[in-house]
Symmetry: C2
Subunit: 139 residues, 2 copies
Amino acid sequence: MSPNPVTILKEHKLRITNCRKAVLSTFSDKQSALSHADLEDILKENYDRVTIYRTLKTFLESDLIHKVLDDSGATKYALCSHNSDGTHHHDHEHIHFKCEICGKIKCLEEATLPKVSLPKGFVNKEMSLLVTGVCDKCN
Amino acid sequence: MSPNPVTILKEHKLRITNCRKAVLSTFSDKQSALSHADLEDILKENYDRVTIYRTLKTFLESDLIHKVLDDSGATKYALCSHNSDGTHHHDHEHIHFKCEICGKIKCLEEATLPKVSLPKGFVNKEMSLLVTGVCDKCN
DNA sequence: GTTTATGCAAATTCTTTGCAATACT
DNA sequence: AGTATTGCAAAGAATTTGCATAAAC
């Protein structure tokens, strides 16, 4: 399903470095959106705070991760999912679910976002939905 | 339609101060979501940066404003709309529209959010939708 | 008169930048 | 070898805290 870090980096024409692999592995392991602070906690023994910032920036620019909208204030990021053919999932439609209990934020790839009727004159290019509630594990 | 600052503050049992009135007026004037920096630019002549931070915090805690999800990273805030009877608009359903051209973020009170079908086991309590595109004025 | 908010200074925290050393292709 | 990435130090923003003064009730 989800390709290994090296494959992902190659697909995006990024150099394969330990820090980048570690960040990608962390995202896969946690299966939830992570903030810089989350990553720093996990990786600070091995990698510099600044390198993690730069890694996130690089990944964002390469569309390897995306920002997750979060009402808590902290900026979080999540892996953009991949298909085996290398195509992204629908990039102008993100649905994220935040669990009130465990606090984790997950991308819901399966759910689809219905059309929203906007007022006259508004043109819709991209939509991001944050659903808050209780996740399957905490339910 | 929108009550004046003093009324809003009274409804929320908050002391009526100049800074609070000024912040509320600014939100009404601009009719768009504002960041702390936006408010500071406008109000710095008369009020301290720190006071604006504290005002925003107080307003958030009193549910007088809410955070607006923004993919740009900056935290923005918007007034929770009021009805004359003092009730809020649907508080577990926010739709915000961000214009790519003018950069403004507005709450779309009129638009309604259709039901989203979530995967098994997920319980939905609150939804926040950020739509990015071109607004009526820039179109 | 009592309680709460403000302003200023300073402390924290968050994020970015410069540059030499290191790792990748 | 040549180019991009890393780590460290340090700069720059953003946000929070402490405390005396001022304003609100």
